[in-house]
């Protein structure tokens, strides 16, 4: 028995309801997604591995529970994809790198376990930039992901596969990670919703670390309501992650549905300067008009240190990465170079063969910034500027409830367009890294397309642990778009 569902537009709530009401079995829904992956994904390259056995076993458990009238979780039967930097027992975890080729983690990340406990059917592992380092998904050792909205363009990065798979109807929702923009930017490029939760809101146990003071896990979905549902499942403290927060988890679905009238929206002038694509500027201005019409008051705010966010980020993120990535040495898992006679040679050769150019570049930069004689000039200086950037936000949030700005300066660019110039690629993160450094929550919501048909996203930034207000504004943006 199967009702025909449109996989490309299927919402999380519609998928769950269909399964719960017995109109579609979870097994059939998973099988349909696998069929579509087989047909469509060769052009997109979003999946690195499929976890068919685990998915079908879970789907059967859900279907049995549905038949016997057991209570079903909030994600019952919903097909979900997982970025390949998260551990999922039985499936490979490559982090988009050759150095982890063949590695199968013997445990589940907390977020993976939580999704499955809520009834989700986990379809497989999604392509990404190597160790989540990149803004275009072109740094994956397993080939780039193509943007489903324009196949000659990048999907954004580093969670390119997570955004593309949701946009292309290859899963209903997905998990990504964001260190400097890696959820919000690909969400904007692919025209889906992406949420960066507050630092500490979602457990990172089982995440392959890039920059530990910045790394966060969050969902990609097709609607703000779906993102709220995902966040309710994902959020909360975890015994296995000492950086996870004990702050109470709100009812995000209820928060997201509240009207926005009376909310104060901040517009940071520094995010509308030179280099912003005029079509994106116009789309964001329309969003502000819509929010005004919905009863929000719009206020200019200043985030004066914005222009220092990218250099600050590239010191702190690479310094932490140089430390985190020292664990990849060919001893305990993954690739080991052959023909090395000494331990030192084995380390070097394994890392040389295993890491790609961008990862080496960042390890070198981070090692340099931390090395004797340079620590104060680079690392300590960047940490001080990080304080200033965070104070910028704390000051702004004393006056407004949420901030609205662009996610990216341009729409999705062409594959190969920026690969030769690391600085051009790093400047892609200009509107996303400050929120990463400050630890506040943020999201990208689709707000139209360019004349060429490329998606545009608007960024909504919220106070620390105030995902509720951020989602509320997101819903208002979505409602106004639907009314166009």
């Amino acid at each position: 028995m199967a009702e025909a569902l449109q996989l490309e537009t299927l919402s999380l709530s519609a998928a769950r309801t269909a399964v719960v009401e017995g109109r579609v079995s979870a097994a059939a829904l998973a099988a349909e997604h696998y069929e579509r992956i087989a047909t469509v994904d060769p052009q997109i390259n979003s999946y690195l591995a499929l976890s068919r056995e685990r998915a079908m076993a879970q789907a059967e458990r859900v279907d049995t529970a549905a038949k016997t009238g057991e209570s079903l979780g909030p994600l019952a039967g919903v097909p979900i994809g997982i970025k390949d930097v998260l551990a999922m027992r039985g499936a490979p975890a490559t982090a988009g790198s050759l150095i982890l080729k063949g590695y199968h983690p013997p445990y589940d990340a907390t977020v993976v376990a939580k999704l499955e406990a809520a009834g989700a059917v986990l379809l497989g592992k999604l392509n990404c930039d190597e160790f989540a380092m990149g803004s275009s998904n072109e740094n994956s050792a397993y080939g780039p992901v193509h943007n489903p909205r324009a196949l000659d363009r990048v999907p954004g990065g580093s969670s390119g596969g997570s955004a593309a798979s949701v946009a292309a109807g290859l899963c209903v929702a997905s998990l990504g990670t964001d260190t400097g923009g890696s959820i919000r930017q690909p969400a904007a490029f692919c025209g889906v919703v992406g949420v960066l939760p507050t630092y500490g809101r979602v457990s990172r146990y089982g995440l392959i670390a890039f920059a530990s003071s910045l790394d966060r896990v969050g969902p990609f979905t097709r609607s703000v309501a779906d993102a709220a549902t995902m966040l309710e499942v994902l959020a909360g403290p975890d015994n296995l992650d000492a950086t996870s927060s004990t702050q109470p988890v709100a009812n995000y679905s209820a928060e997201a549905a509240k009207p926005v009238a009376g909310l104060r929206i901040g517009v940071p002038e520094e995010y509308f300067g030179e280099g912003l694509d005029p079509e994106i500027r116009a789309a964001i201005e329309k969003v502000l008009d819509d929010l005004g019409a919905a009863g929000c008051s719009i206020h200019k705010v200043s985030l004066p240190h914005t222009r220092y966010a990218v250099p600050t980020y590239y010191v702190i993120a690479t310094a932490e990465a140089s430390s985190n990535l020292s664990r990849f040495d060919g001893v305990r898992y993954g690739l080991r170079a052959e023909d090395a006679n000494t331990l030192a040679a084995m380390f070097r050769k394994s890392r040389d063969e295993g890491f790609g150019a961008e990862v080496k570049r960042r390890i070198l930069l981070g090692t340099y910034a931390l090395s004797a004689g340079y620590y104060d000039a680079y690392y300590r200086k960047a940490q001080q500027v990080r304080t200033l950037l965070t104070r910028d936000f704390l000051t702004a949030f004393a006056q407004v409830d949420a901030i609205v700005c662009p996610v990216t300066p341009t729409p999705a660019f062409k594959l190969g367009e920026k690969t030769d110039d690391p600085i051009q690629m790093y400047l892609e993160d200009i509107y996303s890294v400050a929120a990463s450094l400050a630890g506040i929550c943020g999201m990208s919501v689709p707000c139209g397309t360019t004349q060429a048909g490329l998606p545009i996203g608007v960024q909504i930034l919220g106070k620390h642990f105030d995902e509720g207000t951020m989602l509320r504004v997101g819903t208002a943006v979505e409602v106004a778009q639907a009314g166009r």
Partner: protein, 113 residues
């Protein structure tokens, strides 16, 4: 001291890049070395903009919670109780190792005799 200026931005030599690569246990080929030196110098030039800012008396921020005043005293202990619990099975862990005798990880010779 807090105003330490970054060293001459365009000044990382090939030898310095090689030294940093050694510190990071990275092997760079003859082709990679000049390219990495070029990229590193370009990025460090961009990072040098940070020296425009006066950060005298600005405390360094290592992570977010400290900025929000979140401490175990105000928000509860986030560390789990230190109790013995079963961990991941050793067989499953060792199965991932490139070379093992089942109990230990095996590596090439460390000490020359």
């Amino acid at each position: 001291m807090s105003q330490a200026a970054p060293p001459e931005a365009a000044g990382v030599s090939l030898a310095e890049v090689q030294h940093v690569a050694d510190l990071a246990n990275l092997e760079l080929t003859a082709q990679e070395l000049p390219r990495m030196a070029r990229d590193l110098n370009a990025i460090l030039g961009h990072i040098a903009e940070l020296s425009e800012l006066d950060t005298t008396n600005v405390p360094p921020m290592a992570q977010v919670a400290e900025m929000l005043g979140i401490t175990p005293a105000t928000h509860g202990e986030s560390l789990r109780v230190d109790a013995v619990k079963p961990s991941v099975d050793r067989t499953a862990v060792m199965a991932e190792a490139p070379e093992t005798d089942g109990r230990f990880f095996k590596v090439p010779k460390v000490i020359e005799r």
